[in-house]
Symmetry: C2
Subunit: 231 residues, 2 copies
């Protein structure tokens, strides 16, 4: 019988935010696949998993996953990774792909899942805690209340000002290099600067929670929450 | 020494989606507070926790939490609940408030936290997996990829069609009674109906994953994902 492929969201960084199911699957699965941006790079996801799961004796397979690009690149990436993994699954072994945060938020895992499923293998996705839920928890602010809406964007994908126009609350992911734009958009819409919270490296070494600061250097893992109305 | 207040997101329904931290805190905390919509009502959150945590011997405190309303109602609700809980905390005992999904997504817990903090007590928020992450996992679709945006709305709060105008992906929470509106908005924007996935009671008894269906009765816990482009 063929093995099963798991796509696991390991949460935003704190190993305590792995789910019970994620830990249970990772404990019993012999192969852990960690996405890397380029070959030879250390995997942040694996460093987090290592703190909650004993990985000694497990096979660790680093695979390059495109973080950006178009559908064709994502699909090619899924096929390449899939071909490597189907070798393992065909031998009757399970494999677990770990992704930071939640699997459905900016992860190309779904393409890998689609490809491997189409070849007749069983797959399962375990959702995880997102970075923006964690940022809100650390800042002790709600993302939305009552019937408010929430927009989650990246600064490359969408105008911050436009999102602020239509929504009471916005989350700007990958916002480390975009302090100036966020600041300008808030000023343009008359939103006080204390209504923004910047959280970087949540749950990891060097965690920082603060305000929009154009002079500070922020990490790739930076999430900003902007609220039209603070409580 | 006074006790500590925890606000814990227990995830969308499957007890396996509690985080390691949530379970660890609930295991050692003597008082579990479960929000109910009205007095005497059973708590869905408690039913889920019970499957992952041994609650025998613990004090269970049901508290009425406003799900809808304005800021004044949320604040009053927070004060009322806070006064009950500060009695417990003052005796040196910890208390954990459990909320379905994630604490920052449509939960008034933050008001309780703010009030109790303002009185000098220590508090901590543990984020959880949201219903929309779980819905995406079950449907095996990404919420967003590359630099796409995501809008999370309720049908009462915002026009579905307007959200579809500005965003590649939208999540409509509490959408069980709004099939007709969603269907009409998709038709108006030329989005094929197979680009929507309706997930109700995810991880609970009676779980259902399907298409928008105006003839079907859907539960309160219904989340719909609409994507302009399916992979």
């Amino acid at each position: 019988m063929a093995g099963k492929l798991y796509g696991i969201g390991i949460g935003p960084g704190d190993p305590g935010l792995l789910t019970l199911k994620a830990k249970e699957i990772l404990d019993r699965t012999g192969t852990i696949v960690c996405p890397v941006k380029k070959e030879g790079e250390a995997s942040t996801a694996l460093e987090i998993v290592r703190k909650a799961v004993n990985i000694s004796g497990k096979r660790i397979v680093p695979l390059v996953f495109a973080m950006e690009g178009g559908r064709e690149q994502f699909e090619e990436c899924g096929r390449k990774a899939g071909d490597v993994l189907m070798d393992i699954l065909s031998k009757g072994e399970d494999a677990a792909v770990i992704t930071l945060g939640d699997v459905s938020v900016y992860s190309t895992y779904m393409y890998l899942d689609g490809y491997v499923s189409s070849k007749g293998f069983e797959t399962e996705i375990i959702p995880g805690v997102t970075s923006f839920s964690y940022a809100a928890a650390l800042a002790k602010i709600p993302l939305m209340l009552g019937d408010e809406g929430l927009a989650v964007i990246t600064p490359k994908g969408r105008s911050i000002e436009h999102a602020l126009e239509g929504f009471e609350n916005i989350v700007v992911m990958k916002s480390g290099k975009h302090m100036k734009e966020m600041s300008a958009a808030m000023t343009a819409r008359g939103i006080p600067h204390e209504n923004a919270v910047v959280v970087s490296r949540a749950g990891m070494e060097g965690q920082h929670i603060g305000v929009i600061d154009e002079r500070r250097e922020f990490n790739y893992f930076t999430t900003t929450i902007i609220k039209k109305v603070m409580r």
